[in-house]
Amino acid sequence: MQHLKPARSLALASACVAALWSGAALADPDLSADLVIDGELHIVTRAPSDDTITPYLPERYSGWLFRSEDTRAMQMDDFENPAMIAAEAGAELWTTVDGSAGQSCQDCHGDAEESMRGVRAMMPHVNEDGVLWSMENYVNNCRTERMGAEAWRWSGDEMTSMTSFLSLQSRGMPVAVQIDGPAAPYWEQGREMYYTRYGQLELSCANCHEDSTGQMIRADHLSQGQISGFPTYRLKNAGIVSIHNRFRGCIRDTRAETFAEGSDEFRALELYVASRGMGLGIEGVSVRP
């Protein structure tokens, strides 16, 4: 179980803080900032764009680069990162027996650090039946089909704790989702959605996150809307926000009728948005304002 209780010296912590303050003269966002967790694990926050997926992006940027000095610092220190509490709760759930089969996740999958490594980086992923599933679907499928337990709510505490814990097992690995073969039609659907101008404000994802990256929309500094940092701890909500919950919020803000969390539409959109972040490092759990 990676980085849950990092052993770390005080000297490292202060070195980390010093490095941060030396960059303080630069205005936010700081595209030259380095995301290093606990002074040890470097996470890629800038990746080259490409002509097939993101022909209109000069480069791929993690949302971390767009946040304030304080918020960035919080994510660099696992003791400060409030999302780590959810990840710890997820670790607990991993070993907890639940359901009529009397089993825990660990009983089938063993040590998550090995068996779950890289899983988050390839999500969402087409299952054996040809259906695109998000990580939440895989989790709930194990619960209902193998454990005889009840499905968790998409953005309920148990699920976001589990996805936080699982994402941590892919921390630092590059986003590498499959977009061809059986995934191709889902990817196309997601792309179509990304450029659709929903709602009474008629704003597409691209209008805000591609055309306006780096600009201010009232008090908010627009990033590329990448999901490599999810699940994320949102300071505003004082809790973990799932990918689909974030999508809902953004569509609602266009004065539109949103889609449901877990819907076909949001899973397709998730695949497309994930692919726009190919090469960015999975942040495990991030902190956002």
């Binding site: 709602g199 704003l203 306006s212 201010m216 929309i217 266009t254 004065r255 009728e257």
Partner: protein, 159 residues
């Protein structure tokens, strides 16, 4: 008696004026596809009320995307669109009314929302609730009066 009758007549005219002159979104008359010469209320707007429309989240929230140097007290002004300082000298009144009513006439594909239009939306919602809009109560983002007030304010921005 005589005076009362005159007052009554004037009141009736004013009432008729507001009741009949307000132009519904579907009846807006465009000239050259980008100008709207006629006031939507039949009367000039109030620039002071226009300040509230451009700066309030609950109304036009123009400051979400535009900076107004003339409103230094309004916090968090965005920069998705150009700063609106001097906009009253850059455009005619008819053009500015057109831009506020439906900017997509002047700037096709612009990110600026259409403030006085009620059709052609994809999945329109009930304000910011995330639920579907109710066609029976769905209205434009701003009223005819708010559009005229905003216009009156923008016309004062001449430098």
């Amino acid at each position: 008696m005589k005076l009362n009758a005159v007052t009554g007549l004037v009141a009736a005219l004013v009432l008729a004026g507001t009741a009949y002159a307000e132009t519904a979104p579907a009846d807006v008359v465009w000239v050259d596809d980008v100008q709207i010469p006629e006031s939507l209320t039949g009367a000039p707007g109030n620039a002071e009320a226009g300040v509230a429309v451009v700066s309030s989240r609950a109304q036009g929230n123009c400051v979400a995307c535009h900076e107004f140097a003339a409103l230094p007290d309004v916090q968090f002004q965005g920069n998705i669109g150009p700063a609106l300082d001097g906009v009253g000298s850059r455009w005619t009144e008819a053009e500015l009314r057109g831009i506020i009513v439906d900017a997509k006439h002047m700037f096709p594909d612009t990110r600026m929302p259409s403030f006085y239009r009620v059709d052609g939306f994809i999945r329109p919602g009930d304000a910011f609730t995330g639920r579907a809009a109710d066609p029976a109560t769905f209205g434009p983002l701003l009223s005819a009066q708010q559009i005229e007030d905003t216009l009156a304010y923008l016309m004062t921005l001449t430098e």
